[in-house]
């Protein structure tokens, strides 16, 4: 790829100062997203995936690093300049109950962003809201109703419609289907994939669920304790995971096939505290393949196959670990 990336994150870090400790929530995060691409951010609690999503949109201020969006470095912008960028970048939240105001009609919720941005007349704004409802396959009369009148799946569609009214070209979707029941989850995954393709959206898709990510993403970034462990195309990552953490994560997912009930690789212990992350590779304290050398230096994220990057010093593990899904 020779064209400039649509979104480029370079050396992003986020630290929080608490009494006596610095919490290193994100360290040295760099990745690119091409126009029209869907990139997944996966990892467990505390991996920093939501912090990346929010830092990219400057909903929180990163400690250092830059976020270049379509040629503009967002980290240097004043709040007024940032506001001018906001319609292009929207956020879909996880909890369809907490993220919709109970006091506003769906029409008010869907037009609020347009109103703040002073876009269109009231009639035009409502027109846009109606179109967004149609895009998420909700009936037009939803516009005069309140959030509590809808089910979880419908509310999440409203959350998606709210992101769409501003006609963004970049969306951060933060666990958008995690709160939904399985049968509804598949509906919303299909809807998101459909909208993304039809509208040519660029998307950062945050999820703890590797199977959902595989369906919706072109490329996947695996995070652990604030650092990138592995980046690859979805196809490559699921067929040939290279990092011991990615393999362990895949192996931990219970398979809905009782005949495949195999000896799973179970990681020992808990995710360490970000106040005191392990030296060298942050995963080494739980890694089944760790060597003494892993404690010495932070492994660099290097390309091990075309477009496939991993932050692990061991290249001798090929085939020695159980492949995922086996």
């Amino acid at each position: 790829m020779t064209t400039a990336p649509f979104l480029s994150v370079r050396g992003l870090a986020k630290h929080y100062q608490t009494r006596g400790a610095t919490l290193k929530i994100l360290q040295d995060i760099s990745f690119d997203i091409a126009k029209g691409e869907v990139v997944g951010l996966v990892g467990e609690s505390g991996s920093g995936k939501t912090t990346i999503g929010r830092s990219v949109l400057r909903l929180i201020e990163p400690t250092s690093g830059e976020v270049v969006f379509d040629g503009t470095d967002l980290t240097g912008l004043s709040s007024g300049e940032m506001r001018r960028q906001r319609p292009r970048m929207q956020y879909i939240f996880q909890d369809p109950y907490a993220s919709l105001s109970p006091r506003m009609t769906i029409g008010e919720i869907l037009t609020e962003g347009l109103k703040i941005q002073k876009i269109g007349t009231k009639a035009e704004r409502l027109q846009r809201a109606r179109k967004a409802l149609e895009q998420v396959e909700l009936p037009p009369d939803a516009i005069d109703r309140y959030a509590h009148e809808f089910s979880g799946g419908q509310r999440q569609r409203i959350g998606i419609a709210r992101a769409l009214t501003l006609a963004p070209d970049f969306i951060v979707a933060d666990e958008p289907v995690s709160a939904l029941d399985v049968s509804i989850q598949a509906q919303v995954v299909n809807l998101l994939r459909d909208l993304q393709q039809r509208l040519g959206l660029t998307m950062l898709f945050i999820s703890h669920d590797l199977a959902v990510v595989e369906y919706i993403c072109d490329r996947v970034i695996v995070l652990y304790l604030g650092r990138i462990m592995e980046i690859a195309t979805a196809e490559d990552l699921y067929a040939r995971p290279q990092h011991p953490y990615t393999r362990a994560l895949m192996s931990a997912i219970p398979s809905p096939d009782p005949t495949a009930r195999t000896k799973r690789q179970i990681l020992k212990g808990d995710i360490p505290s970000p106040a005191n992350p392990p030296s060298g590779c942050v995963f080494r304290t739980r890694c089944p393949n760790a060597l003494d050398a892993c404690a010495a230096t932070v492994p660099e994220l290097r390309e091990v196959a075309p477009g496939h990057f991993k932050a692990c010093i061991r290249d001798d593990l090929e085939g020695s670990l159980t492949p995922p899904g086996a």
Binding site: D181, S183, A186, N190, E235, P254, R264
Partner: protein, 338 residues
């Protein structure tokens, strides 16, 4: 399995009172759990799976919901069979935590923040067994070791907030097992945990259950977890059992359209690339679960069912015997297959 079941539920109906109306959240459930057996109760929000487990434990707030019909026959440690529905609150208190252990979804809410975990585990030993404080604490340390908590003696003196989510769930398991119950009821015990921690907890529960040949009633929405841990599965939809049978058979040859839909709509690792290439979509079940207050006539799943015919909308289907121990509440079970 021939031995007597530990738990035998027959015709259980649990109703909620909403604005002077009675709504059945659980509508005629039959199920049995045998010693050493894990039965998974699976379904989506509103299916009645948690209300079933709360009914067994008799933990429904009386003002809101109550058992309207049916029996819950339970065989305790003393070998006597009692109908839990008929017991007084006082008698129930002797059974909960003693004969029946309980583990819930959110360990932080089932633990008391102002007592050390050692105190909380030893409490049930002191209450149910009359063991002295020092001995009970000693036993608590042993239980913490049993559930895989390193440095158990020091951990016993800690408060729940000093522990991770996975550690806390281990503590609630230690509490549930303290009095050697014959039945463990686990309601979404791994849902709030990360996958690598979930794998640890499932492994632990399986191991402890085998060692003690306890019966386990495992409530979950996750079919992957069911496949991993359960011997038999009971699939619930809108307050009724729609399919039940041995896990291997139900997953291989589901005979209810809802079970088929659930199994298909679950994304499977490593299958998406081929689907994306062919432009295939993730199979979803259209529509949503009906509200308990507005149940359709006949089969509750009919409005979402690709196989529904007119006859489905007239009467609630019976649970038909597909095979030994395998039942489906679908009038077309013979014609359909996944």
């Amino acid at each position: 399995m021939t031995p007597e079941p530990i738990l035998q539920i027959k015709g259980l109906r649990t109703v909620f009172r909403v604005r002077a109306r009675e709504i059945a959240a659980v509508n005629g459930i039959d199920l049995a759990v045998h010693p050493g057996e894990t039965v998974a109760l699976v379904g989506e929000s509103g299916s009645g799976k948690s209300v079933t487990s709360l009914s067994v434990m008799r933990l429904l707030a009386r003002k809101i919901g109550s058992i309207d019909a049916g029996s819950i026959r339970f065989r305790g440690k003393d070998g006597k069979v009692k109908d839990l529905v008929a017991l007084s609150e006082e008698e129930m208190r002797h059974i909960r935590g003693n004969d029946i252990g309980m583990v819930f979804q959110e360990p932080m809410t089932s633990l008391n923040p102002v007592y050390t975990v050692g105190d909380q585990i030893s409490e049930s030993l002191r209450v149910h067994r009359g063991i002295g404080k020092r001995d009970a604490l000693e036993a608590a340390v042993g239980l913490l070791e049993k559930v895989g908590i390193p440095d158990a003696r020091r951990r016993a003196r800690q408060y729940p907030h000093e522990m991770s989510g996975g550690m806390r769930q281990r503590v609630t398991i230690a509490m549930a097992l303290a009095c050697d119950p014959t039945l463990l009821i686990a309601d979404e015990p791994t849902t709030a945990l990360d996958v690598t921690i979930q794998a640890q907890i499932l492994d632990l529960m399986q191991k402890l259950q085998r060692e003690r040949s306890m019966g386990m009633l495992f409530v979950t929405h996750n079919l992957g977890v069911v496949a991993e841990i359960a011997h038999r599965v009971v699939v619930m939809y809108a307050g009724r059992i729609v399919e039940t049978g041995a896990v291997a058979e139900v997953f291989r040859d589901p005979r209810h359209p809802y079970t088929m839909g659930l199994l298909k709509s679950m994304p499977r690792l490593g299958t998406a690339t081929a689907m994306k290439r062919s432009g295939e979509k993730l199979p979803a079940i259209p529509g949503m679960v009906p509200s308990l207050a507005e149940m359709p006539a006949g089969c509750a799943f009919a409005p979402r069912c690709p196989f529904a015919i007119d006859a489905c909308r007239t009467a609630v289907p019976e649970l038909a015997a597909v095979n030994e121990g395998h039942g489906s509440r679908c009038i077309r079970w013979q014609e359909i297959s996944a």
